[in-house]
Amino acid sequence: MYGWIWRHLPGNAWVRALISLVLILAVVYVLFQYVFPWAEPLLPFNDVTVDN
């Protein structure tokens, strides 16, 4: 999978490494900004109130 992505990136090894880094950062950004905030309330780790 990652090998496939690597082979399909343009440029030489340095350019590919740079693009990979940008892609990784983009994925982390999307996770932190959208995916995790969405997933968090669905997981039972952070309820602090007493409630019925």
């Binding site: 039972p44 602090v48 007493v50 409630d51």
Partner: protein, 244 residues
């Protein structure tokens, strides 16, 4: 198809003496390696989620709490005016738990608490406010993540002060009972007279609730205090000796 490309690429950089890989293995090997990579990816994502929960949400919440707290202080500095419950009603100081101040806002909705503040209950049992003649001022805040304002609640001991700072009063409470573990459905801890703490008659109580053990929300940790005295805020906002 994928297997052949894979092989072509792999042999490109290696020495010509390498024996060609057997053809039949290619497809299965690819499937296994993709599966393995997916597992590694899942592991990394879970690791990132931990980083997010325990670090990043604190960064975001502390920033937001600071902003909202500054707004309340600015608003107070402007002179007399009505109590603004939307921005926050005051600050909680618990020296044995945290050196910082905790902004207190109305309600215990996730959205409110996620901003690194403590919220006073509006349901299931409506909280009293410190200025009320009697009642229970009941608060909740996060134990981990989102500011983790009550993270060190277990450091609070009997006799420790809890001070609530409003615009013109210091309300000095004294802890008289802690309950390290109770059911999350135990709403009676919020009662105006919290009988579970041993209280018998109406008074001015404060209740702090958060989740326990750390990093989970299985049970609730409860700390009760009783009002000792009320001090007027002076011109310089000199804190009471308990915060010295």
């Amino acid at each position: 198809m994928a297997a052949t490309t894979d092989q072509d690429e792999r042999t490109e950089g290696s020495t010509p003496t390498d024996p060609p890989r057997p053809r039949g293995r290619g497809r299965i090997a690819t499937a296994v390696s993709v599966f393995g990579e997916l597992l590694i990816t899942a592991g990394l994502v879970l690791g990132l989620f931990v980083v997010y929960s325990l670090w990043w949400t604190n960064v975001v919440a502390d920033r937001e709490a600071k902003k909202q707290g500054d707004r309340v202080r600015d608003y107070w500095a402007d002179g007399p005016g009505s109590l603004n419950t939307k921005d926050g009603i005051g600050f909680l100081h618990v020296p044995s738990m945290t050196g910082g101040e905790i902004l207190v806002k109305k309600g215990t909705a996730t959205k409110t608490l996620n901003n690194g503040v403590a919220g006073y209950y509006t349901k299931p049992v409506k909280s009293a406010l410190p200025r009320d003649k009697t009642g229970n001022f009941s608060l909740a805040a996060h134990r981990d993540g989102h500011g983790a304002k009550f993270h060190r609640i277990d450091k609070i001991e009997k006799g420790d002060p809890i001070v609530f700072e409003s615009r013109d009063k210091w309300y000095v409470y004294k802890v008289y009972k802690t309950l390290p573990e109770t059911s999350k459905y135990n709403v009676r801890v919020l009662d105006p007279i919290p009988k579970e703490s041993g209280a018998k008659k109406p008074g001015r109580y404060i209740t702090l609730t958060t989740c326990t053990p750390v990093y989970t929300s299985k049970y609730r940790y409860v700390v009760w205090g009783k009002l000792e005295r009320v001090e007027k805020v002076d011109h310089d906002r000199t804190p009471p000796p308990e915060l010295g």
